[in-house]
Symmetry: D2
Subunit: 290 residues, 4 copies
């Protein structure tokens, strides 16, 4: 297929490459043009503007935040995408923006599928992402080959596109809650003089055997918060989006509230560019640990 | 070996049976004598009093709470256990009581190993428990055949017996934190009209693949809180013990504080005998869900 | 002085009347025109549009929320207010909008003073409001006669207009925190069988003697949450604005986070139009009280 | 009357003096005997042991904590106090101990009135304490002259003695909640560059006019946490007792939970002997303020 791709950051570059490998014709756009040009040597076209992405009738967006998506869509391709065209939004954005995009594309006679992903840059490069998708069934089917080229598994959540964003945000909330609670447990055992790595090894070889526990547990035990796999300030953003999504349906999430408070302390203490597992460092500091 | 065993409840009965199967001579004691007599047909002796457990020089305790352990030890076998005797404490008790037991046995010229377990009654019956142990190395070695007969793996945490209790309580805290956070995530997706079982299936087949997530996640999704595998009021007790252990080393655990509050609401609403995963029901009710 | 006044709700109507009584020429605007016409018989002019408010060079806004202020300013008088004109913003709005208004008026060669108020409608009618103001000193002096006509005391907080909004939001946070904590204390004594009115009488005649404690304490003791003096959903809005203001300077406010969660439960349980002291009802329900 | 008085610390010494001034015959006991001897020159007798306090048939206790009261009562005068004798317990103790004392004295044919106080040492010296009392009406009447000599006002809460302890603990909870919330508000305005003393002056001359706000507000604004009027570790003890009292009636108190966490951080950071208003310092540090 002929597809536009906006956002060639750490995640997007791998995803776009996998589309190319799968035989699709990709036109890439990135605010910092050099990143798009990187792909040109691999067979992609480079778009000078977001508006130039829309020729093939399908545009995928994989951008940093709401504001970046608004710029690329409303200030960009929504006017050039033909009636019947499709926007596949894969960024981690707010539920509110996802709802607004669905409405805006509908008004333009276009289609909208929301398809955010779980996975780090390495998973994006290896086409091992998990993708959660929502939107009209026929449009989901229309882009499912594209999604398959980028992920190891796709879950279709029904007609309401924004559900995919709710699930994505809830997933990041669950990871953050794990970081927070493992951080509290590690602070406790450290205060009793135990070695945190031994402790994590014990817990993740018995009760909490998922890779997400093993990998993050090891970072926390070793206090290895640099370089960041996912920056604390982005983690704060996602927790904020989860809280906003919950607020709009009158759903309190007290653990998310605590994490938000701790992440703010992290920012106040200069940890905004540390890995978000540094949430555990805030917890340790609150227990008087260095 | 010749070993006394106090506490033949849901957990203890299976553990004692596994000792018998492994060829050990078990003398059982239970406050409700009929449960001890059950074992008599399988080769065990029955002790009329805790004091009568101490003949073999080793006593294992697997009781409901601090108070039950205090009764059986201080009002029981501590006076009849010979110098050089060993008490292996496997109950989930407070760190403070574990420290007090270590001191009391030392004063009596006796030894103390703390060896609490992770696992439900089925794991106890199947000798699949995980055991975390602390105490003098030679005493740990002395009882390691007994521990091996009851569990699938034993972790030795060093000379300080109470560390084993800290780790046990931290583990139950981590499970409870998982129940709380999954409860919040499920409340969120339910408020967006999604099916909680689909959601749990998705999350536990991608990010959170440990059995502890799958099993508890399914209970929460189906709101199946009866019969209780582990009662909410016992969960509250364990969270309280974790908070007390943390308080004595000046370690705040805000997620534990939240769960304590929610478990109290659970008790106030008559859920004390529901499974402790009903923590998620409190969370759902706080979001206005039935 | 000749002054435009936008927003003749429960608060604004009393404030505008006090300006008229003090001899000022008031031109009133309200989205629901009938409320403006009420004032006409008392000597005010009625503006058909926000743009028509700007003739006198000074416009006061006293509106429900950010969105209403944006409509009246950006979609309204910012284009008709002459260079050198002054906007006195008295609504409870976000710190972010206050900063945006300061910048926008500056770009238009206009001036901006932020002057939100403390007090209920009765205090507005009786010119007993407390006013906190920020903005350029000369502009504050320019409107100080107007402010004096509406309040019992005005506090000038310096050149940065948005500081006044921070103080206003912090004040509402403190009131809400009082509602929450009194609610928790009342739940406790009720669970011990005590009469909440006796308890409030005791506490407010000894330690907590401010009217804000006496008045709200009595509402909580009697569970008299209707009619609302200030609706719970507006309380939630203000707590949200306080949290947003705090977030933008990396300041965690955990008590505000708790209240937000409880207010959301209030909304989920249908209390959005109750008085915001019904925060205490949520707390009572969480303790299993009716 | 002829009365025994145990506990001549900062509070007790002033209270005992006021009894002497009012013409009562006081026999004083203090673990550190020198403090009791101080009173001897003012007309008091000195008891060598708690048991020697009971001659007059009435004993008042004003001690530091549960453990001190247990020592003086169970290891002390409960055996020497005659049948029909009265124990007036004025210390800040747990609800559980108050219930246990009521039962123990009943078993000994003795009476028990619980009468804890609000007020700092200066108020104790000036007979300006507020006293909350519970117990049998006739016994309350029996000691009301004594209470009047020590306080400015006494509130009788009914036959259940422990209610007085609940109210006392709830009052300290409310003060702590005020410290916490004022601390959060002050952190917020400081992060916006405002002077905290100006802010406290503004808030306590408008909305929060009680002395408890003015006095503590000034300490927080000036960060004057030494010398301690009431030490942080005692504040932590009282919050813990409030939480324990609430737990035994299944009453969650989330603001108390937060304060407990923050007070623990205070202890972990070496603030245990600072004034308990240093709770606000923990809050400030969590916002990245020095």
């Amino acid at each position: 297929m002929n597809v536009g791709f906006a956002g060639l950051g750490q995640m997007g570059i791998g995803m776009a490459r996998n589309l190319i490998k799968a035989g699709h014709q990709v036109t890439g756009y990135n605010r910092t043009r050099s990143r798009a040009e990187q792909l040109a040597g691999e067979g992609a076209k480079v778009a000078d503007t977001p508006a130039a992405l829309a020729d093939g009738g399908i545009v995928i967006t994989m951008l940093a935040d709401d504001s970046a998506v608004e710029d690329v869509v409303f200030g960009g391709f929504i006017e050039s995408l033909p009636r019947g065209g499709l926007h596949v939004s894969m960024s981690t954005i707010s539920v509110a923006l996802s709802q607004r995009l669905a409405a805006a594309h509908r008004e333009h006679g276009q289609h909208y599928v929301s398809a955010p992903v779980f996975g780090r840059p390495e998973a994006a490069a290896a086409a091992k992402l998990f993708i959660v998708a929502g939107g009209p069934r026929d449009q989901f089917d229309r882009c499912s080959d594209l999604l398959s080229a980028m992920g190891q598994q796709t879950f279709y959540l029904g007609e309401e596109a924004h559900r995919a964003n709710v699930v994505k945000l809830s997933g990041n909330f669950l990871i953050a809650a794990m970081l927070e609670s493992v951080g509290e447990a590690v602070a406790l055992v450290r205060k009793y003089g135990m070695d945190p790595s031994d402790y994590i090894e014990l817990m993740t070889s018995t009760l909490f055997t998922a890779p997400v526990h093993k990998n993050y547990g090891a970072l926390i035990a070793k206090e290895k918060y640099h370089p960041a796999g996912f920056r604390l300030k982005l983690g704060l953003k996602d927790v904020r989006l989860a809280l906003a999504a919950a607020e709009s349906v009158a759903c309190p999430m007290p653990v998310a509230s605590i994490m938000r408070d701790h992440l703010l302390t992290g920012v106040a203490r200069g940890l905004e560019d540390a890995d978000w597992s540094a949430l555990a460092q805030v917890v340790a500091q609150n227990a008087g640990l260095s």
